[in-house]
Amino acid sequence: MNIIECKNLTKEYLSGENVVKAVDDVTVSFEQGEFCAITGPSGSGKSTFLHVLSSLENPTSGNVYYGGKSLSSYNDNQLSILRRRRFGFVFQAYNLVQELTGYENILLPVMLDGKKPDEEYLNKVIDMLGIRDRLEHLPSALSGGQQQRIAIARALANRPAILFADEPTGNLDGKSGREVLSLLKYVSKQLGVTLILVTHDLHVAEQAERILTIEDGKIVKDTKPAPSV
């Protein structure tokens, strides 16, 4: 069952007087619980594709459908609600709110939704990510790997349906990167979350159930590698 799909998705940018097509007429769908890696060379448009797909940016043309409903029919508020309830984001630069502690950062989407936090669930996520002793720290007092774990916990805090990760290991050293990636995989599987991840690292991509390769804004390859033993 498709959870999110896009049809003829195009994103153009103006670069000086030239129009650059970062995403060029892409049609693709993602299944619930799937772990998909989007890969490609630098400047191929993979991050832009993820941003448009996840509603962080508006497409120039084409549509994104979540649960069969076009996102273009959502207004700003509805999109905000969608992002806080159904989507989770992990960025390369962590993007934690510097004034809030680790725990407060994790709680952000829940609090924005005005809900009471589900402590049992949150504790589970926190324990899975191994950040319990880092919750009272401010982001500036955390290492890159720890910040990224907080960012993952924040992305999962509201039980999202899809987790979008844009180069989540890009800022981390090899060991931390590997740890973060396995955590992402593990947690998303445990919680049944669809994980769509952008990476330019083939080793990372190889761990996905499905690999989309983008070049010049187009999907040039859509492969499902055999699960590694």
Binding site: L56, T101, E104, M111, L112
Partner: protein, 909 residues
Amino acid sequence: MKRKLTINTLAMGNLKQRRKQYTILIIGIILAMVFSSGIPFFISCMQTSITETTKRLYGTQDEIYLKAMDVDFEKGKLDGYISNYSLAHTIGFAFKDEESNDVGTAVAWLDEKAVEMYYPFLYEGRLPEKAGEIAAERQSLMQLGFADAKLGEQITLTMKIPDGKDFSKKTEKRTYTLVGVVCNKKTAICEWRTSQESAYLPAVFVNKGEEVAVGGKELLVAFVNFDNYQSWSNEKKHDYYQFSGNTLTIGTRIHKVHNDSYEGISGTDILSTMLYSTAFAVILTLVSCLAIVNSFANNLRERKKQIGMFRAVGATKRQIISIYAREAFIISLISAPISIFISYFGVKLITKIMGDDLIFMPEVWILFAGAGLGIICVMCAALIPLIPISKSSPMQAIRNVDYTRKLRRKKIRSQKQFNVSSLLAKRNITLARSRQIIVSIILAITIIGSCYGFSAIEYELSEVGYGQYEYGLYNDDHFEEDFVNPILDFRGYCNNDVTELMSTGYFSEAVASKKGTVNILRDEFTDYELIINICSDTGSVYKDVAKGLTKENFKEKVTKNFSKNYLNVKEKYNYNSLLLTATFASIGEEYFERMKDDIVEGEINIDKLNSGEEIVLVAPQKIGIEIDDDFLEYYRIDDSNPNEVKRDYLEIQECSFKVGDELDLSIVCTSSKDKKQFVRTDRKVKIGAILKDVSGFDWEFPSFYGIGVLTTNEASQLFAPELDYNSIYLKTKNNIDDEMNSIIVPYLENISLSIPDGRLRNLYEFARDNEQSIKIGLFGIICIISLFLAICGCVVNNALTARIREGKREIGTLRAVGADLKVISSSYIKQLLSIFGWGYGIGFGLYIGGYCLFAIMNNVMEWNKELYGIKLVETFLMCAVLFILCAVNLILKIKQEMKHSIVENIREL
């Protein structure tokens, strides 16, 4: 790449890129420069205007000797009293007709120095250059019956010929061509002088060297400047008084100190305006500097990473300072000419609005100096935040270490549940407290200023308008001889004048009053009466009373040391008893109604007053005397300034009169049969009521200095039938306007000029001008308040815009995790609320606290200062408007930021 990369190109590049952000900064800098250059420029214009107006109205001399024929000015020069002097050679006294041959003006020619010193300022035409030409003051022309004379017209003057000592009875006629009309100097200088004195001051000028008529001899008027008067010791001043005292017998001194006010805006008004302007200039410049510091600090904070990058690639601290200071310098150079332009034309406009009393005489160097000062201020304002930032290490700058340290210091604990906008606002406020201080200070200053401004507006508005009467005809009381009524050659206004005025149909009411001198006959003086006699202005009872007067010798001296005049009068009019000199005054019956609140004892019975059975005694309830040894002057205290009691007085006494006391009054008046003869009239009266000192009464009420015997005009016939009215105050029938005023004034001027020392007091014009200056003042206050609010708005806007720009990534992150416009903007609005809350709290707190403190001190210390009312609502409303404007602006800015995609928000630039 042909272009060379220099610090200048870097600075210019930065400026170009940040044009938009710099616009507000440039406006702020222009404002600061306008304050730092425009206000001193305005003050200097006022100063030059005062100097020029004073020069036009009074000349540049320190003293005028009216009959200076026998004064040895050269000796005065040698003795170090006089630095220079000049002379006017009087060839006659021109008058209109034989019946009023005492009403007119001296005709003279001025030597070259006198033209410089006395400075007859020409309204039109020129000064005489050849025989047969004449220039005159407009008012003198009116007085001589040539009100409509035009330049080039021939006028014939009838003149009394001088005999070298005074004007003789011999007259002659001379015909002249009018070539110039000069500023009315005589009226200004002789405002408080008698016609006998002012008769010698020339207001009509003939060609240099014109001869006096055959058989006559010219009189001399001297214009004198003191030799460095400021450095004179008290001894020298005393010696000079002796020197000039001798000259009093032959000449009358008119000292410059009398010339402290002139038509329209008084010197003190302008001085206080200057003081206020200076205070506002300083405050506004400081506030603007704070705003500039704030703007630069915000700007640099936003660019901290850029600075870190520069440091990382090897820029030294000096180079960093150089790059950013160059930007500030270029900005101030752009702002300087604009601010000079605004200041120049702004001041010119204000001067024009303030009316003809101010003369625009620009001292342009002040503008440039002010702008230079402005540039220095801007550079300082830029360097204040720049120096510490330039000192930070590259990584400190890039990673914003301060922020991290601050967060750690605060020992923040996680909230288990929270409102996102509130928590973010709270944390930001905690972290940016130091940034908030400047904004809060400016807000607080604005609030204090506007509260005070609104109170001033309310107070000033209550001052608009004039009393019941629009015009007053008056002449100063003066006495031919002490203790005797000034009837000889004295004419005031009479009943016919009142009847004629009322018959014109212009006026609905005329209040006339008389003022003279009365002697109360006593066998013995009470202590209170001794002081009254010293302070009285109706005659010098004692000889050189102030000299050597001490607490110990007070009684002995004032019971023995009678003046020559006093003894002469006693002998001449056969007084056997002691004379307590007092003012005699009468006024219309209806006026007594208004005095009810001032009655200390008894009641006013009009019938008894009219019958001459009773009088009303005006007497201060407490009177004291203090001697100033330096000037051999005495000062009195009375009901009008009761707090003076605290001073060390020689003697202080309470009123010794009681209602029902019988008084023997004696008035010496001209005989109705022969005006050369004086007749003494004695009457026994009872005190019907005692009024406290009534110095606070209106213009139309006669003023008293010692004590006063007051009765009705009807009763005055019984006491002094020959005494004329010395003032008539008039109320117009319809609402007066400028057009009607222009009809009435010439008519009243004609009446006033027809009697010696007759003057017109135009309260309508006074009130109109007063209203105009109040309106200008109000406009100024409102402008200043608005300016403050605008600066506040800019500063707040700048601070929050910078915060939004700084927090752009955070906005993106929040949006990514599902925050909408409401959450983000409410977080910023809460920060805005905090800034305003602190500013308002401090501002209103200080204002109310200051007000209460002043009120308490005023009470405790008995300063008796008039307190403005507390005005909070208006300021609060204005602040609410400011808050709403800032909030709307903030939301628009956030919306603008949210128009970009989340990715654009998040992306590091």
